[in-house]
Amino acid sequence: MEIVERPYSSDELDAIEAAEIEALRKASREPYPDPIEWSEEDIERNVVISSVDHLIDWCRRFSVWPVNCGLACCAFEMIGLAASRFDISRFGMELFRASPRQADLLLVAGTLTWKMAPALKRIYDQMPEPKWVVAMGSCAISGGPFRDSYSVVNGVNLILPVDVYIPGCPPRPEALMHGLILLHQKISKETVLKKR
């Protein structure tokens, strides 16, 4: 049973990944606009949330499953929130899915560096459609204490559209829970069915 040599040399792979990082770094200059399209609709045509929308929003709101993407110290406040004392299974969120395929919420908890940015963008892209992004902690909002470092992304909204920002370093579990309740209110106002 002889083994064939490794398919790729690691230098090739490093070069491919580095090119990806540089490309993303040049591409992300100004932040994504925050997805607040639901509010414009209210102002323009004061559309009434139909009861079917209401029902669908209610179902989505109370089964938001975060993808377990803890980057740094905030991750341990996030796990603390999932633990038994500040329990978020009351909101139906205690299932931290490891793969983005089964997740609805990308809770960016910690400092995002340029080397990690393409991976985070790929995880966001690989999540099924009704998905939301919560930027937890001042590192995810604006780079935080590491803002003027050479390798830190100054704010996750340079890479992803962010729905809720939760300040703090790390934010207390209660603050995180307040942020998630804000997210629930946001979900409850979304119109799902297209107006024909």
């Binding site: 049973m1 083994i3 377990n68 204490p145 590491f146």
Partner: protein
């Protein structure tokens, strides 16, 4: 037999059991690991470069975010290094408070290590939630003292930031009385569990001289039978006034590394008990100028952290900012042995071995 081809899989930055954003590029032949290449840098925030533009007191919050599971110990190591550099005397009461906080942090960090190690063995979140219950008690004690749950910024150059409130001692007393019972409960539930024995006995054996050669430190080194603990070998602060032993195990496999954490938690409880008994009165912080200007020179202060020897190498040129600020990260050096322990073993063992080495990416990538 038939020719089989290797496949290269990323245990990438976003993985439930890599303790943060650590990545391993593993080449498999079926289930057996043929090659493992650790890749770092996904949480490299350049703390050493940022430290050079901050004053000595402003760097303390950065040290909290290094090993965010043991922030008190990072503070302690950094503050000792600065005091050695600037030659500052620390009052007795501050030394004892620092030892109490450092040992409480060691218990909390070991609880997390054992909890997450069992996550990797398949006991998904059950033991971790029990151990998190104890950690929440310790976090309450820290919150009483310095108001924060994770990044304490509690220790200052020359002492500690706040004195302990009067309800701290009774709460600590209650915690210290309960804790040995909980540690026995964990040990009783886990030590003779067949699954744990089957997954950890004889897995990832690290011989003693290889551990020394690979600059491994902390419980991983002592699990291989090397009796080397800075609290006894090079006693800093007031550790020479307490009597406690340094537990070591013999054959250095994953089971011994698990045992090491349990035994060390018991020793930490003993230290805290003696420190509480001998806690003197007096002021808790020496008079230190706000913008400290240490004399030209360098100093290397190290501390026995939960993950190993955490050292700070500071070079000063007389200005209020350090000229060079280097952190000796025990978790990064403990990972030197990961490749040698995992190659040739099965995939499932690799994650358990990584869990037993217990890394924290904030300190590895800095």
């Amino acid at each position: 037999m038939f020719k089989t081809e290797p496949i290269m899989i990323n245990f990438g930055p976003q993985h439930p059991s890599t303790h943060g954003v650590f990545r391993m590029r593993i080449t498999f032949d079926g289930e057996r690991i043929v090659d493992l290449e650790p890749i770092f840098g996904y949480l490299h925030r350049g703390i050493e470069k940022l430290g050079e533009s901050k004053t000595y007191a402003q760097i303390i919050p950065y040290t909290d975010r290094l090993d965010y599971l043991a922030s008190m110990t990072n503070n302690h190591a950094y503050v000792l290094a600065v005091e050695k550099l600037a030659g500052i005397e620390v009052p007795e009461r501050a030394e004892y408070l620092r030892v109490i906080m450092a040992e409480l942090m060691r218990i909390a960090s070991h609880l997390m290590t054992v909890g997450f190690m069992l996550n990797e063995m398949g006991a998904f979140f059950t033991p971790l939630l029990y151990m998190w219950r104890e950690r929440e008690k310790i976090l309450d004690l820290f919150e009483m003292v310095c108001g924060q749950r994770l990044t304490y910024n509690y220790m200052r150059i020359g002492g500690v930031s706040h004195d302990i409130p009067e309800e701290f001692m009774p709460a600590l007393r209650r915690f210290i009385d309960e804790m040995p019972g909980f540690i026995d409960e964990y040990d009783q539930l886990l030590a003779e569990n067949e699954i744990l024995l089957a997954r950890t006995k004889g897995v990832g054996i690290l011989p003693a001289e290889k551990a020394i050669n690979c600059s491994v430190s902390g419980p991983v080194l002592r699990a291989s039978g090397v009796k080397w603990d800075l609290r006894k070998a090079d006693p800093y602060s007031v550790y020479d006034r307490f009597d406690f032993e340094i537990p070591t195990c013999q054959n250095g496999d994953v089971y011994d590394r698990y045992r090491m954490r349990i035994l060390e938690m018991r020793q930490s409880v003993r230290i805290i008990e003696q420190a509480m008994a001998q806690l003197p009165g007096g002021e808790f912080r020496a008079k230190v100028p706000a913008t400290l200007r240490p004399p030209k020179g360098e100093a290397y202060g190290h501390v026995e952290g939960p993950k190993g020897e955490l050292g700070f190498y500071l070079v000063s040129d007389g200005s209020p900012n350090p000229y060079r600020f280097h952190i000796r990260a025990p978790a990064l050096l403990n990972l030197t042995v990961l490749r040698d322990l995992c190659v040739g073993r099965l995939l499932a063992d690799a994650l358990v071995i990584l869990g037993s080495i217990d890394i924290c990416m904030g300190e590895v990538d800095r």
